[in-house]
Amino acid sequence: MKRSKKAALVLTVPVATLLIAGCEKEVQGMVYSSPEECSAGGWNTEQCEAEYAKAKALHPQVAPKYVSKEECEADFGDGKCETAPQQTASGHSFFMPMMMGYLAGQMMNRGANFQPGAATSGTNTAAAGNKSAAGAGVPTQPLYKSRDDRGTYRTAHNTPVAKGAGPVSLRPSQVQPRVGSLVRRGGFGQQAATRSSYGG
């Protein structure tokens, strides 16, 4: 026989990877546009400054990067983008949105038994280095505002965090900053626009 013994389809529709929501506990963080707004909210000025400095340092690492200022401003608004410190090997610049605020993740949780690098003890034994452990707060990080939704503070990965300044409840895994990566999309497919067919 010169034909297949069987030709069958299972017709599996590939499913998108399911988000694992789990039963993660929400923890408290504070959202402010500046350390001044933070201390005006009644918090320790020194702490407000320290958290702000931490977020500011993270900003160039985690902010989304764009190859042109126009593309960046299309997402974040005119005059709301700046040149990123990174360059490609060929000297090409990237652009990133300006930091519009910060999430102070550690202030509400002072006194909890979290000490980065310290030996874990007691009942809150999460995996070593897992900063999302209960009592550890959420990661302190810069926040941004998109062009079409000026009221909302968002993380570098576009997760909405708060509609204004003040305390927020968050699941730590939703706001994990991913450091040191630049993602671009749409770099394949340009020729498809000018050619009628791709397979043959």
């Binding site: 010169k2 297949s4 090997a89 993602v183 671009r184 020729q191």
Partner: protein, 396 residues
């Protein structure tokens, strides 16, 4: 080789749509056409199509290594210089290939002649491996065809075997241009077979593929929409496009296994035809072919002009032996050309439409084995994307 009119199966369109074959009709014109079938003898299939397909495939594969080492040939094939070592590494690293299709002129007698190789992104795969197989089974069950009727079509068996044997990363991704139903149908079929072979597969639209780099913009990695690495990728998208697009350079450094591999860009290129002819002059399954140069004479009767990169007959010009000139429009007029001796496709009578029709045989290769055939029909001598697909049988 005969063309025989036959009644269509009732409700085949409904069935086609149930199995995801939603491109069976294009712009109101039939693409899948079962108002007739082609009948071959077993000898015609085995001696004239199967054996020459494997021989031609071997000839082509024997040339790849030489091309990767030849500045002259890489230049003739218009492979960008930045990719020469990438292609060389891909071949010398033994990167596996999955499938290809060669298009042949065959009339039932005399040697089949190679028109071109579609060795990077061949479509018509689902129609061949699945839909024409089901057509035969049903026509036998309906008593329209005798039970001993067969088909040269082991495509699905061989693809399934290939997905079992190939070393592929898990999960393995498949991609095609987002809004192309035909390409998506082909990819869905491959994903279905891979799933049946036990593979964990994911689809990502070509436009959604991301490149993740470190903070210095270096060490590119292809990623999916969750920024997870894509370590293995079947791409139904031509290499000659990819190497000229923004993410092309990322493929050079990214740790992603590509299927088809980069060395296939040497074979999906019509420049392989003059290279084959110069290595195997007067081979019975080859047509004379040459690169067109600035000093080439105006094209004479009995010749065909094809762009190095073109698909579905686009931008092909031909002058028949009798001097009739036929041209197909298309978007590939921006590159170099080859010329190939004209060999007319066999002409048949389409009783259903009361018109003449020309038939071309596509011959499939999976791994390194001949794996089946498909027939495309057109009212003209140039087979193009609108050409109809007809099933075939083997019956002596």
């Amino acid at each position: 080789m005969k063309r025989i009119s036959v009644a269509e199966r009732p409700n085949w369109r409904t069935y086609a749509e149930e199995v995801g074959f939603n491109f069976h009709t294009f712009d109101g014109e039939p693409y899948w056409d079962e108002t007739a079938y082609y009948q071959f003898s077993l000898q015609q299939v085995e001696d004239d199509l199967e054996a020459p397909t494997e021989e031609l495939h071997q000839m082509v594969m024997d040339m790849v290594g030489d091309i990767t080492r030849s500045e002259e040939m890489l230049t003739q094939l218009n492979i960008p210089r930045d990719y020469w070592s990438y292609v060389w590494n891909s071949w010398n690293g033994g990167e596996p290939h999955l499938y290809g299709r060669m298009d042949l002129v065959y009339s039932g007698t005399g040697p089949a002649k190679l028109l071109e190789l579609n060795y990077d992104t061949p479509t018509s795969l689902f129609e061949t491996g699945f839909f024409q197989w089901v057509w035969l089974e049903e026509q036998i069950r309906n008593g329209v065809l005798p039970a001993r009727a067969d088909q040269f079509n082991s495509l699905q068996d061989k693809l399934e075997q290939a997905f079992i044997e190939l070393e592929l990363s898990t999960p393995f991704f498949f991609t095609s241009v987002r809004d192309n139903a035909e390409d998506r149908g082909t990819v869905n079929y491959l994903m279905d077979i891979a799933t049946q072979s036990g593979r964990n597969v994911h689809y990502i639209a070509l436009e959604d593929i991301g490149v993740l780099t470190d903070a210095k913009g270096e060490n590119p990695q292809f990623v999916d929409l969750d920024d997870h690495p894509i370590k293995g990728l079947f791409k139904l998208y031509p290499w000659e496009f990819m190497v000229r697009e923004d993410f092309g350079r990322a493929t050079l450094a990214a740790n992603t296994q590509m299927v088809e591999p980069a060395w296939k860009m040497l074979l999906s290129n019509k420049g392989i035809l003059p290279l084959l002819w110069s290595r195997y002059p007067d081979h019975p399954n080859l047509l004379p072919a040459f690169f067109e140069t600035a000093s080439s004479e105006p094209m004479a009767a009995g010749w065909v002009r094809k762009p190095l990169f073109s698909r579905e007959g686009a931008n092909v010009d031909l002058i028949t032996g009798g001097g009739e000139e036929i041209s197909a429009a298309g978007p590939y007029a921006d590159g170099r050309y080859i010329r190939q001796a004209f060999q007319a496709l066999p002409k048949f009578r389409d009783e259903h439409r009361n018109a003449d029709t020309y038939a071309m045989v596509g011959s499939w290769v999976v791994g390194d084995r001949a794996a089946g055939i498909c027939i495309r029909e057109d009212a003209t001598l140039i087979t193009r994307d609108s050409s109809r697909f007809l099933p075939h049988i083997i019956l002596d």
